[in-house]
């Protein structure tokens, strides 16, 4: 199985970097950024992630808008929303925009990896 590239977009950068480090320990290539602008910067640098773990509530451009930007850039990139501010409505809106899954924080690393692998396999 190929190790997927994971981009973590979360304004809680401490969370993102820690999660990225844990994923790297498990053989994934992971990067953490704190917002939409940085995320689009990473994509523009030709570092194409297979899966993006995206926070929903972020200052400036929020998760759903970032999802739109990512999908406009590359519709094949799978996006999983990983948020503490989940709601059914936002989940439905995300699904309508091509979201792969919707996971509530905090999440078990094993469960998260299972979902990442599923998304990466798409």
């Amino acid at each position: 199985m190929t190790a997927h590239r994971i981009l973590i977009v979360d304004d809680e950068l401490d969370f993102g970097t820690t999660l990225a480090e844990r994923l790297e320990l498990r053989g994934y290539a992971a990067k953490a950024v704190s917002g939409a602008q940085e995320a689009m910067g990473v994509l523009a640098d030709n570092w194409r992630p297979d899966v993006v773990l995206l926070d929903l509530m972020m200052p400036g451009v929020d998760g759903l808008a970032t999802l739109d930007l990512i999908k406009q850039h590359d519709p094949k990139i799978q996006v999983i929303i990983l948020t503490g501010h989940g709601s059914t409505e936002s989940g439905i809106l995300g699904m309508q925009r091509g979201l792969f899954d919707y996971i509530m924080k905090p999440v078990d690393i094993g469960e998260l990896i299972a979902r990442i692998n599923e998304a990466g396999a798409q």
Binding site: F15, T18, R22, S87, K105, P106
Partner: protein
């Protein structure tokens, strides 16, 4: 309920019109009594006034009637005596005009005339002829009065002065009360006057007066101006006894004097009898002493009493009925307000819970990831001295995160109240399904579940999963309340055309009233032990689900006896789908 019954029993007649500072029970008692008093007053005051007016009006009429009756009786008695005297006077006039002094001085002739007169005139005692010198020249009668000298007698002189004279009652030579009717005539041969005298006993007057006797008549008698009785009186003695008459008529009119004797009126009619020295006195009871008056008064009192009783009874019933209606209306209003308040509270707390859960989730995720990274790193370091202890501590940290996550997710679930998918479901089937999860636990605790499920219960429109959660929560609570050794009764039945209900009763310790008030409030829990700490959301979620499905959940409990939850749902009817969707 028992309190209601006892409050009805102890309901005082009046507890004041002010309802301030009173308990609800006392306030309704007060309202009930105030209504009773006000309605009773509204009913009885006009009734009493009308009856009183009728009473006084009728009393006036009867008094007028009594007055007229006394006048009529007096007139009648006067006319009777007058008629008697006029007839006698006419007869004497005929005799004196027909016969001369010499003719009548003949005892045989006089006796013949006397017999004739006596046949026609009751009470005639004797007949005599008195000469101008006052010496009685002829006498026919039972006494030995021939030759008596009446020259000093008042009647003799009055008879000479007037052509016809009726005397007062006196005893005279015979010493027996009597009166005389005397007429004088001038003898053409001697040109001197002589007198014919007829004596009548006073019993004759008594007999005529007795004709006027009626039910109301107290007394009737004759007196003269000097206050000497001229006839026998029922209450004032025999003829010639004294009687004080305070007021006398001046002329021949009949004068009626009214007096009050105690509560009864009394009438005295006084009239002069023309051409006599007599005054007729008639004493008669007033209206109040008459039978017709007593009948009227009795009927009025009976009618009034029956009206009072009927009004009192109706007002008593009506006041309680209205107070009950007010109470029901207040209770319904309070219940609606309470439900609205509770729903608002749930919504507010739901929003707050969602906010808190979201805010906690992020730091919780950082803790989880940091702890996870530490676990990863320590796991890689096989030579790390405290590796086992670190891993153990980090596992505890992760467990705490999982616990916290469970709580925040449940809070979000509460806030969302879960998505609904409405289908037609059978309550009995849901109850049976839920019991299949709980039966083992109940059996382990020696709790008997007794089912009384009505067959062919109508279906309801509800979310299957949420309905399961409702019964799971309530039955689970019942099992937790009993702990061990007890019974749970589950009854389902159709309440009416519109609703079906399930009642779940346990034989647990019951719930104190102050706890019962908050049982559906979010975060209110009584499960305080460490083993099974409650979140205080179970019954709130249950309440929210039931309400969302258009149902109702009620709880009643008695400490030491047990608790009963009654859950009611509307029966599904075709065509009511839109309405259900709107509610969902």
């Amino acid at each position: 309920m028992s309190e209601n019954r006892s409050s009805k029993r102890n309901c005082p007649i009046f507890c004041g019109l002010s309802g301030k500072d009173l308990s609800p029970q006392a306030r309704y008692r007060c309202m009930c009594n105030s209504l009773f008093i006000v309605m009773l007053a509204i009913t009885l005051i006009p009734l009493s006034i009308t009856s009183g007016l009728n009473f006084f009006q009728y009393q006036q009429l009867v008094r007028e009637d009594s007055r007229a009756n006394a006048r009529w009786n007096a007139e009648s008695a006067r006319a009777t005596i007058n008629a008697y005297l006029e007839k006698l006077e006419a007869a004497i006039t005929v005799v004196i005009d027909t016969y001369s002094f010499e003719d009548l001085s003949d005892p045989k002739k006089l006796e013949q005339i006397f017999r004739q007169l006596k046949r026609e005139h009751q009470g005639l005692v004797d007949l005599s002829i008195v000469g101008v010198d006052g010496i009685q020249t002829a006498y026919v009668g039972p006494y030995r009065l021939a030759g008596k000298d009446y020259s000093d007698s008042l009647w003799f002189h009055k008879a000479l002065a007037r052509r016809m004279y009726v005397s007062e009652v006196f005893t005279g030579f015979r010493n027996v009360p009597h009166f005389v009717v005397a007429a004088s005539k001038k003898d053409p041969s001697s040109d001197r006057y002589w007198v014919i005298r007829a004596s009548i006993d006073t019993e004759t007057l008594d007999r005529f007066l007795a004709l006027a006797d009626t039910e109301a008549l107290e007394d009737i008698f004759l007196i003269n101006d000097s206050g000497i009785l001229q006839s026998g009186s029922r209450y004032h003695g025999d003829a010639l006894e004294s009687f004080q008459l305070t007021r006398k008529p001046k002329q021949n009119d009949i004068v009626i004097f009214e007096e009050m004797r105690g509560n009864s009126s009394f009438y005295r009619a006084v009239s002069r009898i023309p051409n006599t020295p007599w005054l007729l006195v008639l004493d008669q009871q007033g209206a109040e002493a008459r039978k017709i008056w007593h009948i009227f008064k009795g009927r009025l009192q009976l009618t009034l009493g029956l009206c009072f009783l009927a009004s009192g009874g109706m007002v008593f019933w009506l006041s309680r009925f209205l107070a009950g209606k007010f109470r029901e209306a207040d209770e319904t209003r309070d219940s609606i307000l309470s439900e609205t308040e509770h729903s608002n509270k749930l919504a507010s707390i739901g929003r707050l819970a969602a906010g808190v859960a979201h805010e906690i989730n992020n730091p919780l995720a950082i803790i989880a990831e940091k702890a996870g990274l530490m676990q990863d790193l320590v796991g890689l370091e096989q030579d790390f001295r405290h590796r086992a202890k670190f891993l153990d501590q980090l596992a505890s940290l992760q467990n705490a995160v999982v616990r916290a996550r469970t709580i925040t997710h449940r809070l979000l679930g509460f806030a969302r109240r879960m998505e609904t998918s409405l289908t037609l479901v059978q309550l009995n089937a849901i109850v049976t399904e839920v019991l299949s999860f709980l039966e083992k636990d109940a059996a382990y605790r020696n709790i008997h579940i007794i089912l009384q499920l009505q067959e062919n219960l109508p279906v309801i429109r509800a979310d299957h999963g949420q309905l399961q959660q409702v019964f799971l929560n309530v039955i689970n609570n019942a099992i937790d309340a009993i702990r061990s050794d007890g019974e749970i009764h589950i009854t389902s039945r159709r309440e009416n055309q519109k609703t079906v209900m399930v009642a779940i009763s346990d034989t647990g310790p019951g719930i104190a009233p102050d706890v019962l008030k908050h049982i559906f409030d979010p975060f209110f829990t009584t499960k305080g032990n460490e083993e099974k700490k409650g979140t205080g959301l179970g019954l709130s979620i249950t309440y929210g689900i039931v309400q969302k499905m258009g149902g109702r959940i009620e709880v009643s409990s008695e400490v030491g006896v047990g608790t009963t939850f009654i859950i009611t749902f509307p029966v599904y009817k075709e065509g009511s789908e839109e309405e259900s969707n709107d509610r969902a």
